[in-house]
């Protein structure tokens, strides 16, 4: 399908793409030479050149400045140095007049650019705002803007989308707006094409080549909520906390308040061993100062709330930061040690057996566990690592950066605010590499698994919420409630699928919004708060909000949250699998080696130029071993207009230290063109409520009637397991609810009777094993 681009008719050297006629009249031989082999970059240069601001200075200002310069040059003015706005203040209307002239000229540039274009009907030109992008929101409509009137019916008749997608079309002037009926699938490459014969102008001339637009969508679960009917959170109150207290989820699901408040009655004292941390480099104090001798502190303390009505448990003194180890057995706490100093304490998850492992002269802003035996903590001007029990090292920070304000929960990344202006730095703590987060200042949050970072871009006229994987530069804007209002980022969920932020505006009181990422579809609204945490297993959120008699800690289920079947594969294995595949996609060789065992080279086996990956299935057939099937994907481009896929099989084995999982075997097939038709992108199975459920996710809109008969589920022995199959067109998920509960992994087959809405069949039977 690859088609060589033909030279334009108005090419004057016949060597490649020349500027469109509406951008002619400017020629830069240096850029022409620089981009000789990349005409698309030269074209971008033209576009920028045509859009540059044509500022018109205020003539009065120009004359006054000249007079002042002449006066100084002639010695009439002292040499105290140039003064800002040193000349006579002018009436404000002059400033506005100047500004208006500037804007008018900017507008004229753009209009001239376009009107000249409109007069030239020799070339059909189309703009698309999604072309060649790889993280388009699944909610976004695709617009194709033509430079002249087109034959609407012919163009729409020639329109095709792969993967097959039900769409509606509308014309706005010369622009064709393509809107998916059920939004686009997340994490999916798309090709929108209009056949050559269908590219017909209103006067009947036909284009010489088809139009092909390729783009990819951002990874996101399908949105399930609409702003207009977004429900309110229905929280249960867990207890009280000091204003500004942070919250976190403990591995057992309880909510930990960094500065919780408990009464002397009804609270459990600190567990044995918390009273006097040991192994201290400095004189340690009791983590829980007591007021009554009962062991219950008089003021704020680190408090665990197991649930509504449950007795709060004091874990220690009020904390500046907390972090649980990957296996959930240990807790790291940073607490104030007086006069601005802090100490870092490691204890059992219940707060017992505490010992001080580090002290700091300044407050600690974050603690995290990169591994079971390794701790990272940060102050505003330094990051330290500790290999327990006590060998420490200091991380070198970029000299140009501002203060450290956040650590990722996996301890692999830190965020350093900008020294001035916007654009802070995301630092890879292990290798020291950095990346700028566009427009960021201080509001940055990491997902619980550390793979996603979200931030508020404050460089523009109105704040924007952006997210990106931490290991590659792929910022994706997130739609927010009431664009233009003030945003305060509160939390990102464990898997990066949801975000919590507060929004407030001049005419609106502040409220919490829980939304899906990266689409931004709102799931629920809640009270004003800047502090929140998502439950690691999903489905609920804890936060600190204003109550009738002070701040309270509340826990609320997230309405509309669709809980996937319970994972039958250990979470550390899933985390390792996701991290390995993410490193393959980003080409992070160091990370790949870190996550792989010996005996093979994961870098050499991984195809180059990957755009994304689908983790099709994962299953555990024996303790400590997990198998997974992944499709590695290269998005289509203008040069290769078909998606390419390489099938990969991985084996993960629990490490000898029990610290996590490593990829111990890897088999990767060669990249090949993905056949047309629907594709299976995920198979997951496990118990959900009282039934065993298998979910099969597709990239295409399916012919619903073909789905039930195309999917069969069988057990280890090959016996077919009966159940009910329901296809949800909104999520493109077929859910099979089995009549009986299988004992082990199940085998799922999807056969070639499955059809998409374009009547294309599944190219080959897909077999997947899931559960365990």
């Amino acid at each position: 399908m690859a088609r060589e681009r033909r030279p334009r008719r108005n090419s004057h050297n016949g060597k490649g793409s020349l500027p469109p006629p509406w951008l002619s009249g400017w020629f830069d031989p240096e850029l022409k030479e620089l981009f000789e082999k990349e005409p698309e970059l030269y074209e971008t240069a033209h576009l920028l050149r045509a859009s540059r601001p044509e500022a018109q200075p205020d003539d009065q200002y120009r004359r006054r400045l000249r007079a002042s310069l002449m006066a100084e040059a002639e010695g009439a003015v002292g040499r105290q140095g140039p003064l800002r706005r040193w000349f006579m203040p002018r009436p404000r209307h002059l400033a506005w007049g100047g500004a208006a002239a500037g804007v008018a000229l900017v507008a004229a540039t753009a209009l001239a650019l376009f009107s000249t274009h409109m007069q030239d009907h020799q070339t059909v030109t189309a703009f698309s705002d999604v072309a060649a992008l790889h993280s388009v929101s699944p909610e976004q409509a695709v617009t194709v803007a033509f430079n002249q009137p087109m034959d609407h019916a012919a163009v729409v008749a020639g329109l095709r989308i792969q993967p097959a997608t039900e769409i509606t079309t509308a014309w706005q002037g010369n622009s064709l707006v393509i809107t998916p009926v059920h939004h686009f699938a997340g994490n999916t490459p798309y090709t929108v094409s209009i056949a050559q014969a269908a590219l017909r102008t209103s006067i009947g001339t036909v284009a010489a080549a088809p139009l092909v637009i390729t783009f990819g969508t951002a990874a996101t679960p399908p949105p399930v909520g609409q702003t207009s009917s977004t429900p309110e959170l229905q929280p249960a109150q867990l207890g009280q906390a000091a204003s500004g207290s942070g919250v976190a989820f403990a591995p057992d699901g309880s909510v930990v308040a960094e500065a919780g408040i408990v009464g002397t009655a009804g609270a459990t004292a600190p567990p044995s061993g918390t009273a006097a941390p040991t192994s201290t480099p400095t004189a340690a104090q009791s983590p829980a100062a007591t007021a009554t001798g009962s062991g219950v502190p008089a003021g704020p303390a680190l408090v665990s709330f197991a649930g509504p009505g449950a007795q709060p448990v004091v874990l220690g003194k009020a904390a500046e930061a907390v972090g649980f180890s990957p296996d959930g057995s240990r807790l790291a706490v940073a607490e104030a040690a007086g006069e601005g100093a802090s100490q870092v304490i490691v204890a059992a998850a219940d707060g017992s057996n505490a010992s001080v492992v580090a002290t700091s002269g300044s407050p600690v802003v974050g603690v995290a566990w990169p591994g079971a035996g390794r701790l990272v903590y940060a102050t505003s001007d330094a990051i330290h690592t500790i290999d327990l029990p006590g060998t420490s090292a200091t991380v070198t920070l970029p000299s140009s950066a501002g203060p450290v304000t956040a650590l990722s929960p996996d301890g692999r990344h830190a965020y350093l605010a900008p020294a001035a202006g916007t654009g802070g730095i995301l630092l890879d703590i292990a290798d020291g590499s950095t990346r700028t987060l566009t427009g960021s200042v201080s509001q940055v949050a990491f997902s619980g698994d550390g793979a996603t970072v979200a931030w508020v871009d404050q460089s523009g006229g109105q704040p924007r919420l952006l997210t990106s994987p931490v290991d590659r530069d792929a910022p994706a804007p997130v739609s927010t409630l009431d664009p233009g209002s003030q945003l305060t980022l509160a939390a990102v969920s464990h898997d990066g699928g949801e975000v919590a932020y507060s929004v407030s505006g001049p005419s609106q009181s502040e409220q919490l919004v829980v939304a899906q990422l990266p689409s931004g579809a709102a799931l629920a609204l809640g009270p004003a708060t800047h502090v929140a945490a998502f439950a690691p297993q999903g489905g609920s959120i804890a936060y600190v909000a204003a109550g009738a008699s002070g701040s309270v800690v509340e826990l609320a289920p997230i309405p509309g949250y669709v809980r996937p079947p319970a994972a039958m594969v250990p979470a550390p294995a899933i985390d390792a699998l996701n991290a390995f595949v993410a490193a393959q996609v980003s080409g992070n060789a160091g990370r790949l080696h870190d996550l792989a065992g010996s005996g093979f080279d994961p870098v050499a086996l991984t195809p180059k130029g990957l755009s994304r990956a689908y983790t099709i299935d994962a299953s555990s057939s024996s303790p400590g071993k997990v198998s997974a099937d992944v499709d590695l994907v290269v998005d289509p481009t203008s040069h290769h207009q078909v998606t390419r896929v390489a099938a990969e099989t991985l084996t993960l084995t629990r490490s000898a230290t029990g610290d996590g999982y490593l990829v111990t075997a890897l088999d990767v097939a060669a990249l090949h063109d993905q056949p047309a038709g629907p594709h299976v992108v995920r198979v997951a199975g496990g118990p959900s409520a009282s039934h065993y459920v298998v979910q099969v996710t597709f990239d295409s809109d399916l012919a619903a009637a073909s789905v039930p008969g195309a999917i069969t589920v069988s057990d280890d022995s090959g016996t077919v397991l009966h159940g009910t199959t329901v296809y949800d067109a909104n999520t493109r998920v077929a859910t099979v609810t089995l009549d009986s509960m299988p004992a082990g992994p199940v085998t799922v087959k999807v056969d070639t009777s499955l059809m998409d809405v374009s009547r294309q069949a599944l190219a080959a039977t897909v077999t997947a094993v899931t559960g365990g």
Binding site: S17, T44, P53, R84, T123, Q140
Partner: protein
């Protein structure tokens, strides 16, 4: 437009002693410097403040100016680059000058957006989200039409380094913008 080199050299030498000669340099370069500063700051008042600072600094330092083989404007741009950086450093993060940039409205048709001042601003503002060195090189090349060698002189880098900055910057801009796709009509 560049002054004839020999004439410019004479003018600069005279300006070290003669206010009117400096005035002539000012008349010639004021528009360029103001436009460059405005294209980075997007605010008229801020652009005026910084432009004033540039010319006062130039006036006070012109006695130390030595011709380097590059136009006098390269020296002025160099002062402007520093003044812009100083200006950004002095600003509070919450009142970024870049707040004047329009945020694109994805709901509006592309054609309408293109044919709109905000769209032109959006296209140009894609440069503003680049890393600082790329941003400066791109602004000097596409905003001021300077030669690569001049940009290198202003930024204290080799011509090759400037090419690399512009190449990376152009890729960055392209990633931030919708991409143009074109087909040619059948003959």
């Amino acid at each position: 437009m560049t002054l004839p080199r020999a004439y410019e050299d004479q003018l600069v030498e005279r300006a070290k002693q003669d206010a009117e000669a400096f005035g002539e340099l000012y008349d010639h370069y004021f528009g360029q410097i103001y436009r460059f500063v405005y294209s980075r700051l997007h605010e008229q008042e801020a652009a005026e403040d910084v432009t004033s600072e540039v010319f006062f600094k130039a006036l006070r330092a012109i006695g130390r100016y030595r011709p380097s083989g590059h136009p006098f404007s390269a020296w002025l741009y160099q002062i402007a680059v520093n003044a812009i950086n100083d200006h950004y450093r002095s600003r509070r993060p919450t009142s970024s000058l870049e707040s004047a940039i329009a945020v694109p409205d994805p709901q509006r048709p592309v054609a309408e957006r293109v044919a709109d001042s905000a769209e032109a601003a959006r296209v140009w503002s894609a440069i503003d989200s680049l890393p600082p060195q790329q941003r400066m090189a791109m602004t000097l090349k596409l905003g001021e039409d300077l030669k690569l060698a001049q940009i290198g002189q202003i930024m204290g880098k080799s011509e090759g380094a400037i090419k690399l900055l512009i190449h990376r910057g152009m890729i960055g801009v392209r990633q931030r913008l919708g991409v143009v796709v074109s087909v040619e009509e059948r003959a």
